[in-house]
């Protein structure tokens, strides 16, 4: 290995794509694995002569936050300080753990892995839609508690076919979910900041969140977490929904006002919620567990080996392309305007 090769830092261990990583960077860069137990150690390592000195790009996974925290202003500033780090290849569709605006100011580019997660996350949302409408998770609890189906009321369970699914945010995941439920078919409507050019003709645009809520039997959230999407679905939106509606959230917990959602569950305005994400993971508000009809997954959105390998390779490929061509494909929208 040549010591003159650039170095890249794996920040949040690879689980699946070790072989692919070797092949991608063979002859291009040396791979260094971030082994800092805490933030001070990480920051010290970035300094001249430190163990991460000379890093030009970083592969990042959210698991690294357990040790060094999120990529906030402090970390971004330290990366900028090195003068060498120019690319953060984040593994995941959501990059709310990276201060991308600070990155923009400091001249560091950020890529994510759009598309790689669409199928797995949309499948998770489909599971939640079915389970909420049909009370399947509740049914399985009943069986496992030894009461078979005696606590269930089939009058509460509804067919998926023919109901209206409202999709908030018709990006890759939302579009993929639309496609999967169209097989039943469900009636699919959506609202996004912009009308989507990719939307099929059976996927109807409505021009406000409120209108979306008013028409939906099931509301499914597919917007990234940003300042302007925090509590995007709050008391007003939930009460605009019909009584007995369902909310499914596979995006980020903070997109919903959890207190308003729990109030609506308590008074029956919402018949159930299907959640894969929570405001303070891995903490789950214990009041959510009091409703047996809720379906509560522990942030499984993309967790399966096929998708995870795919995502690791996609993130690493962005980093490889940056090294080879100066730019990776999946630059996040906030940074695209700079180029």
């Amino acid at each position: 290995m040549s010591s003159r090769q650039p170095r890249i830092l794996i920040c949040g261990n690879l689980v699946w794509a070790h072989e692919e990583a070797k092949q991608l960077f063979n002859g291009l860069a040396d791979i260094v694995v971030m082994d800092s137990p805490n933030r001070p150690d990480f920051l010290a390592g970035l300094k001249t002569g430190g163990k991460y000195d000379g890093i030009v790009g970083i592969y990042r996974h959210n698991t690294s936050a357990d040790r060094i925290g999120v990529f906030d202003k402090e970390i971004i500033d330290a990366l900028a300080e090195t003068g060498t780090v120019k690319w953060i290849a984040h593994n995941g569709a959501g990059y709310d753990q990276i201060d991308v605006f600070r990155c923009a100011e400091k001249g560091i580019n950020v890529s994510n892995t759009p598309g790689a997660v669409d199928d797995a996350t949309a499948t998770t949302a489909l599971y939640l839609v079915i389970s909420c409408l049909r009370n399947y998770a509740w049914a399985e609890q009943s069986l496992r508690q030894g009461t078979f189906k005696s606590v269930l009321n089939p009058g509460r369970a509804h067919d998926v076919t023919g109901r209206t699914l409202g999709i908030l945010g018709l990006g890759g995941i939302g579009l993929r979910l639309a496609h999967l439920v169209h097989a039943f078919p469900m009636r699919v409507i959506y609202h996004s900041r912009n009308k989507s050019a990719n939307a099929p003709e059976w996927c109807k645009y409505v021009d406000s969140v409120e209108e979306l809520c008013r028409e939906s039997d099931v509301l499914s959230l597919h917007v990234p977490l940003r300042d302007e999407t925090v509590h995007l679905v709050g008391e007003n939106e939930i009460r605009a929904m019909k009584k007995g509606s369902v909310i499914v959230n596979t995006a980020r917990g903070k997109v919903i006002d959890e207190e308003a959602m729990i109030r609506a569950l308590a008074d029956g305005h919402l018949s159930s919620v299907g959640l894969d994400v929570y405001p303070n993971e891995p903490l789950v508000n214990p009041r959510l567990l009091e409703f047996p009809q809720n379906v509560l997954l522990p942030h499984m959105g993309t967790e399966n080996q096929d998708s995870q390998r795919h995502m690791e390779v996609r993130a690493l490929t962005n980093l490889r392309d940056f090294l080879r061509n100066g730019q990776g494909n999946d630059l996040v929208p906030e940074l695209r305007s700079r180029l």
Binding site: V15, D119, A120, T123, T124, L126, Y127, I130, S131, L133, R134, N135, Y136, A137, A139, E140, Q141, S142, L143, R144, F148, K149, L152, P154, G155, R156, A157, H158, D159, V160, T161, G162, H179, L180, H182, A183, F184, E281, P282, V284, L289, V295, L296, L297, P298, H299, M300, E303, N304, Q305, D306, S307, Q308
Partner: protein, 343 residues
């Protein structure tokens, strides 16, 4: 006096329609018996079921009067005027149709009424088994977040091969839902189905189906030729790590062979809505956390119940009005000389 029809199991979703459908045609009587002997002795003069010519039947009535086995059918045929049993539901394995055939009692079911609901349940079980969703939810509810969930044991649905045994209404509906991903879909039925989409590939034996499928899903009715149809040999023909789904009837599968395959990891998980001895569930099944176990609610939704009740009552009404109802079960179509039978 109007003929009477007896509801063996209550109508829950279409009570208004019930009144309209039989107004001026038949008198509705309700099951009041709490034992089989009371039931069979109540059709005589002065009895609560006197004058009954047809029965509406739900499986729930077995709790009071038992299954419609041969002795019950013989007694009905020999001592009452009942000549039609309108079963509410697709499955009619709780009725001894051979005894009905001998004695000239016809049986209708409600094919199609719960196809969508049951295919949806099967889709749910498939998603849950491949992705370990139900296991993950139990982990969250028990306070351990996603431990012991392991992504290495889970898979995307897209691109896997789904093997469907029995391409009737439910099997076709499930194929259609799974095709959205898409999955590769193969099937085996007693005969090659007609008007099947070209992406749905016929294989010529159960063995071949098992050899190719990542997920095997069962959609055959329970009868003498299908009981134990999936046994040790078929399960071991599946690839190691395959998934077995059953939303048809528990006895189609040799449960002991299935549990052995779960124990040694040949089957990675099973998704079940049906069991050989419901409502009993073999406690060993509960020891495999990756399995998804529903309490026979595949066909249960408000919409499916409504459709099923209307369809069963429609069959009953047609019999009372014209002597022959719709939806006679295949085994009995021969009995009335129908050429529409598939057998």
């Amino acid at each position: 006096m109007l003929p009477r029809v007896l509801l063996c199991g209550e109508i829950e979703y279409v009570q208004d329609e019930l009144k309209k459908m039989f107004h001026g045609i038949a008198e509705i009587v309700h099951l009041v018996s709490e034992s089989r002997s009371h039931f069979l002795s109540s059709f005589g003069p002065g009895g609560p079921y006197e004058g009954t010519v047809a029965l509406y039947r739900r499986n729930a009535c077995s709790e009071a009067i038992g299954k419609f086995d041969a002795p019950l059918i013989y007694a009905l045929a020999d001592t009452t005027m009942v000549r039609w049993i309108a079963q509410s539901g697709g499955g009619y394995d709780e009725i001894d149709v051979q005894a009905c055939k001998e004695k000239g009692i016809l049986v209708s079911n409600t094919p199609g009424a719960n196809e969508d609901a049951t295919a949806t349940a099967t889709l749910y079980l498939m998603l849950s088994c491949l992705r370990h969703f139900s296991m993950a939810e139990r982990s969250l509810r028990s306070g351990t977040w996603k431990i012991p969930y392991n992504a290495a044991q889970t898979h995307d649905i897209t691109g896997r091969t789904l093997g469907i045994l029995g391409l009737g209404g439910i099997g076709q509906r499930f194929a259609h839902l799974a095709h959205a991903f898409p999955m590769r879909i193969i099937y085996f039925s007693r005969r090659k189905a007609e008007s099947v989409p070209d992406w749905c590939e016929y294989v010529s034996s159960i063995e071949e189906l098992c050899r190719q499928a990542d997920i095997l899903s069962l959609h055959v009715p329970l009868n003498q030729s299908t009981a134990g149809m999936i046994g040790e040999k078929e399960i071991r023909t599946l690839q190691r790590g395959s998934v077995l789904l059953n939303t048809s009837r528990g006895r189609i599968v040799d449960q002991e062979a299935m549990i052995r395959a779960l124990e040694d990891g040949h089957l990675s998980s099973v998704g079940l809505d049906v069991y050989p001895d419901e409502p009993r569930v073999d406690p060993r099944l509960l020891t495999f956390p990756q399995c998804t176990l529903l309490p026979h609610i595949g066909g249960e939704s408000a919409e499916a119940w409504r459709t099923r009740e209307l369809q069963a009552l429609g069959n009953l009404r047609a019999f009372v009005l014209g002597g022959v109802g719709e939806d006679i079960v295949p085994e009995l179509k021969i009995a009335i000389g129908s050429s529409t039978t598939l057998y």
